[in-house]
Symmetry: D2
């Protein structure tokens, strides 16, 4: 039995002692080893199926997972298996993790470099702006396939999506299979909780970790905001408002200052400036915020640097991003071969807490991306929004967060319009319809009509082989542009 | 600092070791002794101020509270004091409890008897229908005073209202002081959890208590509905749907069957019938549901009886209802005088859990009545709705519950229209405006225009002395009716 | 080319000199002769196809139409033809009139008598309440067929529906074919304009006819309201408000007073009482208003009489209602046979004015029933609402009318919920779903659950042969009721 | 008597034979002489009061108005008088025209030149974008004064605003006096009707003038759109869609091509490009459209030129704009002195038609700017929107126009957010709040945070003397910027 409007629940109870987890993207050197450790330290038992287009990489991870069970003192008991076929991997799963993209590093280079040639100096170009939209266009069709297969093979499974752009991708899952129990997860808000714990310790004289920070989170992924923040019940708002005039919240950086920093450096200056201007506190890393609040992109890399952001250059992308063999990685082989000592230790991921709560353990509250059924009152229903949710036995339910000041709502709504336009377009593969979503993106609104079109055509031309589900031939936009041959 | 839209939080953290609680209605023989026991068994410490128009009764309760601290092995450490003056009682309070009405039993008799003379056989007439609206009209001005004094004396206090009609009364608190941290609490949903635990034990073969039942609750007080129900994560919907055809869900009662029952008897037949017709499961006692879903009132007491409900006669009201000396009471004097043995034991109230969570203890989820900021997506924002909320350090936040099937939404919306109309009218004391709210009540829509007016005039005439804040003289409705002299 | 959201227009211009009009219900003795006269006096030319299940009656009307062209001095030139087949009749039509119901008088008798036996003394039971809903259930499937055939045969035609219940029926046309250019027309508001012209003459000392009265009309058919009224630009509001205390607006009738009156008598006392209570002026006949504002039905025929309304008894219905041979009729045969003198004269119908405006003549403003696209701002979009519209060359566009006082909006919204529920149910013929719409009707909310069900079952049983498109066998509601065998 | 929600009506009928019109800005050499001619040729009689800060200029116009009455064969009979005092000018007026701004040409130069220095090459900078917003900030306080005085002196008067930015200014009138009968009028849509008549003649072979073109207009002033267009009832959509591929709709201009053109030249290439991209047809001049659809501004004057637009340079502004002595002017003195022959002839203004209809003449339909009460269904209620309205005796009522495709709605909503933000800020003169509205303007979103702030500070600094109602001292935004000293 299933009520059509019962979002966020599965009709069968998850059994914490006998759980089937399917990991799509199970060849990941970065995330699977973390996952293995969290499962090993959890109170849960079951089996994990690792699915990946790179089957060998999945096999290696499976070997690692089973090795940990034998070699380490684990709490949970888990068996791992690499599965070559998507249907088989999903059949009867209780939980599905989606964390994969098939397109290679070169596409990310294009996402950054081609817009840059038109004057759009995206900080990371990962989730919005022309590069982010292209990534969405490449990825959405794949996730439609996942959703359709889930509907067939495990319709009640809880599906956790970690793949960027989280809003586009999670939205695609729901668009394909509206009753899906899908949740997008992301780390960015965690960073804000670390930062606020640090501020509370320093300025309020309390001992605090990120676990002591509770926030009312709302927005869309990578553009989330906080209008209430507590540390052990102490309202942090007076601290935050008072801090606005501090030196720390008014720093100006030079390129030289950032020379030795990683591209992930976060100096929070964008955060403070947005708080100063609009009254709510942003809860995502500065390098993501600027893709949405795009004032900070103008003037190119210098402006980014001035606000303490280091641009993720395409060279970095080219070197570091390969889904299954990345510098952002762990030492699975070395561990297995005994070349490196392995120590089983908890990560900072919340995923195990979520699973334990779903299986009937302690209720847990964390931020999630789900279909808006009212949790953000002034963003359209049906869009994917990010808010806190309460997780408890077989239920993930968003908390009601209210609405926004007009100006922030306005900025978010525009991005939602882009996302919804591209999702609509992806139903039939109508590129010209998708281009409407590109056009209304605030980064693109800094280009002339001709440049908008040429940039889009150039991006499509460069990434054609990853856009096979789109009707490129029929496009008027592409046909008219010399960039697309 | 206070954001105008930050509902459900206080800017200062509650200190669980030094809490000031003001109990308005602190002379109650029924509720204060329970409260004393829960506080004594809690992990919290502090002081309690008992305020009541019946000062002596408050003094007796204070004596009892302090006696328990001395005589019993308590966990929390609490001191009790009766306070004669409202301002003094509220000054600097962290928590305010409102649980009092000043009008005497006779008014409740009128609420029942006068409509009955016009053919409206209310089951209890406590929270809606002509009797419930009259009760609201008598009570709203008092709660405006409370809200105004709270704004002056303890603007950040958490205010818990237990007074019926909970929706009208809680709405009045917000209407007078929009930034108030007010929450209406009610027991009805707890009954549904007991009932569903019982069903789960009997039919699913699991051990279950009400604590194992989780629900998605939504609606307005005494007319709440459930569209998801789990027992330890097991979806109860298939059980509930299957049960519809059972003998237990299709019982027909005769007056004789109910002869020996109390007026509180609940046979759940209204619950099942509403579930059968409209697809969601009601989560309030049958005798309350029928005041909103008023089909069950027609045909008079016989129809009520046929569905297993015993009417709360006015004779019962007259005998049992006196705010400070009631049969619904406890044996404070006997305990203090040693005439009866007192044993400190937990009640089933959730209030202590709520306070502990607010003070930084384990987060707690329970159903609350708060201003709708989106938690029910298709009921108007600003109305008081009942849903679950997550309670944690200094925060009470409703869970997002989605919307309703059209027909239930329609019925609720009509009642909200009555409530909002009366609240609007109460700002200026415009009785004729309030009468519009009476007219659109579905119980009243069974009367002719003349009878509607005469019944209202008769009710006002009978209760005039408790309606001193209303502009009775200026009324066109009353002037034209012979019932009002 | 057709934009999906272009409501109220046809893509080809109507040619006023060569118009094809298809009249569904073209055998009507009542309406077709009026139509013939209006066309003859209009500036338009073309051909009329008369379609009717009673083909002979349509043939007679065709003979009459052509006879008028020959015998009278006409302005427009028209040829008439009876057509036996619906497809042929509609092929290529510019304008379609729907004005027919196939079920015989006996059904109307049931609509009145069966509810009466349960205590619902409907004044006319024609458009809402249990009788009106039954009529809708009988009629909707037929109009789905009309809409589907129009989509095939003349997709851009302007469709004018005169059949009651106008809201249900017009809504069904749109539900079947969302791009249809359909408009529901009704006389009731015209009566209000006559009445206000009379009041203006009498009390403001101006010469006035109904043409001098302009109103802002809004609501649903037969429950329309006015919040602005002018006579030659003079605001009538002060007059109306002043008139409330007059003797004329406070009359009380006895059954004797009405003895010699027709069932159509309108004494406006319901109008004045609703204006007094809710602040807007109703713009429909009292006997229709009371079906929606159902206080006036309680107490049975006596209450109706007290407000100056004479109940349309089922005996009247039985005698007077037969679609093609009615006392509400004209003397076509007598005219043709020369037994009666025929004089070509204008009727008070606005239809010719509408057609002339559509064909490029003078723009014309009149009240219409169309899909709500915002013209009533606080009734849901997609419902059929009645407002004024501007008619001009190939365009019928509603005027924006704003919203309602809360209480009137509340009453209307409930009826819309019934209408939408029944329309939804009619898609699959789900009787139990339709019964939900019956249950929430305010007239039915005066019955007990058992009586609601029995009455519905009895109505369905009596009218089964006209409900062939509904899935009666599968119904739980009917199965359980002894009334339905 | 006045219902608060009765928008668009006056409680007293306008007497077409004895009308009092107050013309605020009555010294205008440009508009008053046109007005005089239209009144002289109208069927109306009455008196006109000319109010202007330049009293002498008003006196001259009064002399001209009275001279026309004597010298020419007029239809209407009108007397003209210059009035020095605003209160006196407004006392008892039936109609008020507002068409004035007090700030001199230099401010318009700043509006253009300062943003240009930051890379914003506004085409005309008159109604939106940083220059347009500054103009609004200078003008809103003055119109608040007008509205407040109207409320006192002539609360029921019809107020017609011709002053730009029409949306900001008309919105300010309503914000100050919510019951005002205010209507903003503008010529832009008329231009679209001329253009479409031309296309229809050329391509459909019909005789057509702008009067034969009917449109469904919706949007905000200077960014209006059409989703239905007819010429004598012929749907123009197929023509427009077919035309998209024509050479005429795909022209590319060079600066040389435009050398000899006036700044008012309109080559419709922006119009066609927006139609091509978004599916609705824009109904305003290209030079205005680009301020809202700001892609066309990027690349500076070259991009504008490429689309056939000539930038209104600040030199032009400096030379041509002086409210009372402008090149956009007429030859009043020469006429009066007999140096030039005067011929009384109709203008293309619709204002006389509007007044005649209001006074009970033929109903008239034209585009107006009014508070949104639903006429545009997906733009927020309360914003000023532009749609058609029906004008008839004492009533101006918007036509219901439906909603927008998502992308156009998105662009409009952003501008509405700016307008509403500035209006909110103007209530208290909070410059930093107004700056939020500047920041979210799409033109400004092409600037870095520092440039946004500096540009705003520089604009404020340059125009300080015209911003006396704003709290400049308290501003954090201005304080922090070196541009503002």
């Amino acid at each position: 039995m299933s009520l059509p409007d019962q979002q966020g629940r599965s009709s069968t109870a998850i059994n914490g002692d006998d759980m089937i987890i399917t990991y799509i993207g199970g060849g990941s050197r970065q995330w699977v080893p973390k996952f293995v450790q969290d499962m090993a330290l959890s109170t849960l038992d079951g089996e994990v199926r690792l699915y990946d287009v790179n089957y060998e990489s999945a096999q290696l991870n499976a070997r690692f997972g089973n090795w940990v069970e034998i070699e380490c003192e684990t709490n949970g008991t888990w068996s791992y298996e690499a599965v070559e076929d998507l249907e088989t991997a999903l059949a009867g799963a209780d939980v599905v993790i989606t964390s994969t993209q098939f397109d290679p590093a070169e596409t990310f280079v294009h996402d950054l470099d081609i817009p840059q040639a038109y004057g759009i100096h995206g900080a990371v170009s990962a989730t919005i702006g022309p590069g982010g939209i292209m990534r969405a266009m490449r990825t959405i069709p794949l996730y439609r396939t996942f959703a359709a297969t889930i509907r067939e093979q495990c319709p009640d499974a809880w599906v956790f999506n970690f793949t960027n752009p989280v809003h586009f991708v999670t939205r695609a899952l729901y668009d394909e299979y509206p009753e899906i129990n899908a949740v997008g997860l992301c780390h960015e808000v965690m960073g804000t909780r670390f930062y606020l714990a640090h501020l509370a310790e320093e300025h309020l004289g309390v001992d605090a970790t990120h676990d002591d920070i509770t926030l009312n989170v709302k927005g869309i992924n990578h553009f989330t905001w906080v209008d209430e923040a507590y540390c052990k019940g102490i309202d942090l708002w007076p601290l935050l408002e008072g801090y606005l005039d501090s030196e720390q919240a008014n720093r100006v950086f030079t390129p030289t200052d950032l020379e030795d920093e990683s591209v992930f450096v976060d100096n929070q200056q964008v955060t403070w400036e947005l708080f100063r201007r609009f009254g709510l506190f942003p809860a995502a890393g500065d390098r993501h915020l600027v893709e949405y609040a795009n004032w900070f992109l103008h003037g190119g890399e210098d402006t980014l640097n001035r606000w303490g952001i280091k641009r993720t250059g395409s060279d970095y992308r080219a070197k570091h991003w390969t889904p299954t063999d990345s510098k952002q990685t762990t030492d699975v082989k070395a561990w297995l071969d005994g070349e490196k000592a392995f120590e089983l230790e908890p990560t900072h991921e919340v995923f195990a807490d979520v699973l334990e709560a779903l299986a009937g353990g302690d209720p847990f509250t964390t931020n999630v991306n789900m279909i808006n059924t009212g949790q953000v009152s002034d963003i359209e229903q049906g869009a994917i929004v990010e808010t806190n949710a309460l997780v408890r036995a077989n239920e993930i339910r968003p908390l009601s967060t209210g609405g926004f000041p007009r100006q922030i709502r306005s900025i978010i709504a525009t991005h939602v319009d882009t996302i919804e336009t591209v999702i609509d377009a992806s139903r039939t593969g109508d590129v010209d319809e998708a281009f409407k979503g590109v056009l209304i993106d605030p980064q693109v609104r800094t280009l002339s009509p001709q440049d908008s079109r040429d940039m889009f055509a150039e991006l499509v031309a460069a990434e054609t082989s990853y856009l096979s589900e789109w009707e490129l031939e029929a496009s008027e936009v592409l046909a008219g542009s010399p960039e697309y041959e």
